[in-house]
Symmetry: C2
Subunit: 245 residues, 2 copies
Amino acid sequence: MADHQSLSIHCQSCSFSHLCLPVSLKKSELESLDDIIERKKPLHKHDKLVSAGQPFNTLYAVRSGSFKSYISDKDGVEQITGFHFPGDIIGFDALKDQVHQSYSKALETAMVCELPYDTLEVVSERYPALRKQIMKFMSAEIKHDHELMMLLSKRSAEERLLHFISHLSQRFDERGYSARQFNLSMTRNEIGNYLGLTVETISRLLTRFQKEDLIKVDGKLITILDLDGVKQRMPESEISYTALG
Amino acid sequence: MADHQSLSIHCQSCSFSHLCLPVSLKKSELESLDDIIERKKPLHKHDKLVSAGQPFNTLYAVRSGSFKSYISDKDGVEQITGFHFPGDIIGFDALKDQVHQSYSKALETAMVCELPYDTLEVVSERYPALRKQIMKFMSAEIKHDHELMMLLSKRSAEERLLHFISHLSQRFDERGYSARQFNLSMTRNEIGNYLGLTVETISRLLTRFQKEDLIKVDGKLITILDLDGVKQRMPESEISYTALG
DNA sequence: CGCGCCTTTGAGAGAGTTCAACTAACGTGG
DNA sequence: CCACGTTAGTTGAACTCTCTCAAAGGCGCG
């Protein structure tokens, strides 16, 4: 079962394990985790990983590519609740009722590791460190959501987008990619949806930031020219940590 | 230790246990939980229960009264992230770094049950149901936060306030209070802060809702005159459950 | 290679904010 | 227990940031 489509890939050799569930696990714990993980076929752009209403069976860890998660109301209005990159875990909102509450869609070709929840529970009974790690991920998601509330509720369009760019930069950095130059896997529309703004506002702001020599925009490719400038014009959260977050 | 300021109060006799951690626990599990809980002295209006930056030692369950939780940036701008009523758990955002990320302040005279986290972890090792319950609470908070994002990002002032009133009504109902008439323990300012609106807008809307015979407003006392009307004018979430949420 | 989606840019409109003034309720100390 | 200072709430008028509507160009996917 564990070798189903495994492609001989393991947490031990995964370059994002320092950001993912394996963080702080000992070797024996890591091997147990590795045993229960199933690697799925790649997803293509626009493929749905999960849909709201589906029964919850497994959490997913992003292995490559990126995803958006969003909720939807009865009129079809959507709200993107997060973008996910390698190492991120998807599906925590489904734990309460064992039913998925949101949709997750691939923004580009992507791969995930499947973490069957029943098995995860059994294993975490033996390894408290794993359980703690899962709860830390959930806690981090709550913290992120609170910061987004502040952004949506109190910040101007400019501050929201600068925060978004700066946060993306930081996440790419953590993953070993360039903090200064990266490709947006999401559309302007999706950025706007996430930040509570319209496409037009995002477009206008990107143009303005470019005129102000803060960034360079070439379609999906963003180059940050003045990282300090970006951070200066963006309100800081009260509690900050130098290295780890 | 367990009898420290216990006032002979137990989960078994608590009228909010159906909403709190005890949900779905068996008798023996409940007794173990009861043993580790410490009941604290009452807090008064404006007393801080926790502050951002404090080391995290315990979760809190609201026993009576109400609280607001909020984050704050370096300029002192605050964002209320939630209001808490009896049965609610406070402190999940602190699990990640073992440091509180937000403030919680009593909105009126209130009491809490202290859930020392180290002990909670030891006990939940023996009782998986307790562990599951904690994770379900965290999952519910994530879901709530996502719905608030949708509210802040996509809804008009009118829809936000109607949602707020309707949600309060539902929570009072769950707690055995009237769903039709209740006192707001928070100020107009705090409602506005939570919903990403100004005091003036909240005040104007409440006046308008009253003129439209949706509600009656007498200072802090709200009477819902047309509950169906309130719900009709407020967008529904896609996934709804008849009884439990 | 063509059609659809994404992006950009402009002009006008509007929902909610800001500023201001006033009143009401609160609580604190004399 | 009253007086006073402070905080909470209401209402009006002007403003502004962002949205909406519109139109055109460009990229990319099939």
